[in-house]
Amino acid sequence: MSKHRLRGRGRVDASQPVVFTFDGKPYTGLKGDTVASALLAHGVHLMGRSFKYHRPRGAIAAGSEEPNALIGTRRGPGRFEPNTRATVQEIWDGLETNSQNKFPSLKWDVGAVNDAAYMLFSAGFYYKTFMWPRSFWDKVYEPFIRAAAGLGVSPSEEDPDTYASRYLYCDLLIVGAGPAGIAAAREAAGKGLSVVLVDENSEMGGTLLSEPQSKIDGKSAWTWLEDELAALKEAGVKLMTRTTAIGYYHENMIGMVEKLTDHLPTLPADTPRERMWRVRAKQVVLAQGALEKPLVFHGNDRPGVMLAGSAQTYLHRYGVKVGESPVVVTSHDSAWYAAFDLQAAGAYVQAIVDTRPQVRQDLQAEARTRGIPVKLGHTVTATGGRLRINTVRVNPLNGTHVGNGQWIKCDALLMSGGWTPSLHLFSHTKGSLIWDDDLTTFLPKDTPEDCIITGASRGLWGVEAALKDGSVRVGEALSKLGVEATVSDYTVADDRVGTGVTMRELPTDRSAGKAKAFVDFQNDVTAKDLRLAVREGMRSIEHVKRYTTNGMATDQGKMSNINGLNIAADALGKKQPQVGLTTFRPPYTPTTFGAFAGYHRGDHFEVVRKTQIDGWAEENAAVFEPVGQWRRARYFPKAGETMDQAVARECAATRASVGIFDASTLGKIEVVGPDAAEFVNRMYTNPFMKLAPGKCRYGLLLGDDGYIRDDGVIARISDERFHVTTTTGGAARVLTMMEDYLQTEWPDLNVWLTSTTEQWSTVAVNGPNAAKLLQPFVKDFALTEDNFPHMSCVEVEVAGYPARLWRVSFTGEIGFEINVPAPYGRALWETLWDAGQAYDITAYGTETMHVLRAEKGYIIVGQDTDGTVTPYDAGMGWAVGTKKADFVGMRGLKRPDLVAKNRKQLVGLVTEDQSCLEEGAQIVLDPNQPIPMKMVGHVTSSYHQGTTDHPIALALVEGGHSKMGETVYIPMPDRTIAAKVTGTVFVDPENARLKI
């Protein structure tokens, strides 16, 4: 049995020792212990170093609000988690834990030099210190901040655990299984409702676990608890432990994280580490209880200084005495019971120091009976001890006068500054709070959600009050759910109800300016920092918070918010509500990325759309690229080829004979109906009314602002049926835009729109031998210039499959696109591939497609356009049906800015030194002008692997269309490149190659 463990006490299992390590040293705890309780049982208080000053720190609390005792936990490769609260992590055999923020060791830490230099690190020090000189930023400040920033160390390996997600719909969700929550559940149980009761702890009971002395309806607290939970379970209430309600979102959606394996010695197979529950509850009861406030005095952060209520938890729940000769300092009655209970457990309480001059007689009498010295109207002004408190300085208070100090030896200092209702989730609902002067705290007022708050979280102290309140308050929710509200009565004996006063920093006889009286322990924010922030002009608590970082640590102000507010309000000479309370934001406690990501990782992170021909591409060593969630073959390298070599080969082969390309990803929309032609005509710039069935036309889609949004070839299959293609990435956007106009602007048009992207496989064959290759497979239809000219379409059988055959070209070569029902795609591809061997057929990917189209000056929307380019800018005025009455964007094209002179226009660029430009590079007219230069455009596309004898580029250049033949300059980091402005067509300007 470890030194400070009390045999037979607590809820730990003395028959089940558990061995774990802390900083490499093995410790034996008991099943049911947390890391903190097990270490405390061995007298180990020092558990970490603080963030800024690297001050030695111990556990100050016993629950999830702990700001100090943050550790790293490890379970084999990849399973490392920093910043775990030692007060929450349950121990198991083999658990490895480490302290953080120390070098080289926890007991001797170099970073603690910051503590000696603390005057430099006062409020706002980041803002003041790192301002200038400017040149220091890169070399001095940033590396310093980067090295110092962050708590703990990030895991470096991939997390091998899995994380689950679930939805849950219920009638009533109760958050917090203390007395109030359990009482609420009791009224709701057995009434045909689905009721869920959750608690973040490993077992339910809340306060009852730390206050076993009370007797509820004649039963001991723990017996009552056991019976009550069994009854709830029996009645069908879903009880969830180790489950934290992290956030309260709109319309009663509550996010909850259930920890499933972190407490287990061996990982069960096929079990996620955590599960994120997205709960939609018709009614919610919040019974989160209250958090104890620390007192603020010089040295209140020394290991061994702890919240009195937490010492009670360690004593009663874990059977651990946190000190053998503790001193208690308090402004609230509740801490007196900690002194009594520890004394009863064999400790020698050295003194109860209470800031109040008057305290309840019964408490004083009991202290006398137990032989505990009492100092009323006293303050604490300092503590001593290096890595653990060993003495505390106590001074009498006489009004505002602080008398001479007296040092009292001790091995722990238990403090209580009263209790703060836990209003985090309530605040997530945008619930309003009201300041209570008597309790010196905010209490919940109204919330827009179907939510009830009960027990200590609305400022009620004591087990009986909590039970009765939970029982009564849940009635409102039950009535709304249409069941009868009932109320149980409770009688509680030995209940501990107390009152207290709220202190700011405790009065001292020493210089307040030198006091290290901590308000936010994790971020090392002192009372002095808060007052300094106010002196330096911060007026709102939100500003004070950001300037000092008070409340910004991982505990999110659970300990520090109200103390910080009281001090800031005092410094401002205002009432607390006038200074305001910082906003509580989810998550309630730090939450793993894994819990949020859930199943969305690895292959499930994003959908990968594959065409029917994707398998062939994979078997033929294609290199893929993602395009609008599609996986597209980028190029098909032969052994030893680089991308440039492969693309050059694919380009040359296509222009020389025939290339085959998977165009299945092109967006496809079937536009059908009596008004189909009218609709397409209104949507696209080009005229479509007179397009005959069996013909294709290039279509340019604008927004009503006149800018290019998308493009594609549109085939008229029949009078009332169009097959519209879009860019690969634009398919969904274009359909949404079409639906918008059809549904809301032109509901009178009789048209149906259907996405058919995935219904068709599209195989493109291009090159001088394309027709020769294809002809034998086309049933009863001649692929001649006369019978099937460029921009024609026909429904025929190709290789035995029903097909929509188009004669179109995105390469400048004779081109066909064969659309077949999607499942036939690969068979058609392989048929053509086999037959194409006679023509040295070459499969090409998107990169070659890009090069070949650029050589012909065909734009790619989104690459050569950027949302501010008109058809005229792009040199595509020919596509605009100026005689039409209207089309989307027609009026927009006449906007003053769109007809202004000197707009950026799409041109070709050919470099003088034959170098290949960088896409995105900026263009200037005068390379010798002073910096900053006037930039007149940028390179949009650039290639050097094509079939021209020099690299080519497309660019948007101011007034480019009138700069033909002129030289522009592209300044690069190492040199300036000169380029001549040309037209955008580099190959076959007469389109002779399109002819069969």
Binding site: Y249, H250, E251, M253, R278, K430, P448, D704, D705, T736, E739, D740, Y741, Q743, T744, E745, P747, A885, D886, M890, R891, G892, K894, R895, P896
Partner: protein, 100 residues
């Protein structure tokens, strides 16, 4: 996550199924070519930036695909009503009264 009532499907469903689609009751002029530059710019770009009840469009993108109108409070995110495209703008005063 808010829940939205689709007036076409007649069901109240999670926000995930829907897409926001801008301010409601902005009608594309019958004859754009007759619009002055100022009128056309106003149609394209000028939108209210409401704090409180806002008339706006939503689309049941992962459901029936229909665009519809809604009145939503931009402070609380609460919907007062959703209604089909083409239906008249509801009386706001009455809506606010009813929602009390």
């Amino acid at each position: 996550m808010i829940q939205i009532h689709c007036p076409y499907c007649g069901e109240t469903l999670p926000e995930l199924e829907f897409a926001y689609a801008g301010e409601a009751h902005i009608v594309r002029p019958e004859s754009p070519s007759e619009q002055t530059d100022e009128e056309w710019a106003a149609f394209l770009f000028l939108r209210d930036n409401v704090k409180g009840p806002h008339f706006e469009r939503w689309r049941h993108a992962h459901g029936c695909g229909r665009f519809f109108n809604a009145v939503r409070n931009t402070i609380t995110d609460r919907f007062y009503i959703t209604y089909k495209a083409g239906e008249p703008r509801p009386d706001l005063a009455k809506l606010l009264e009813e929602s009390k």
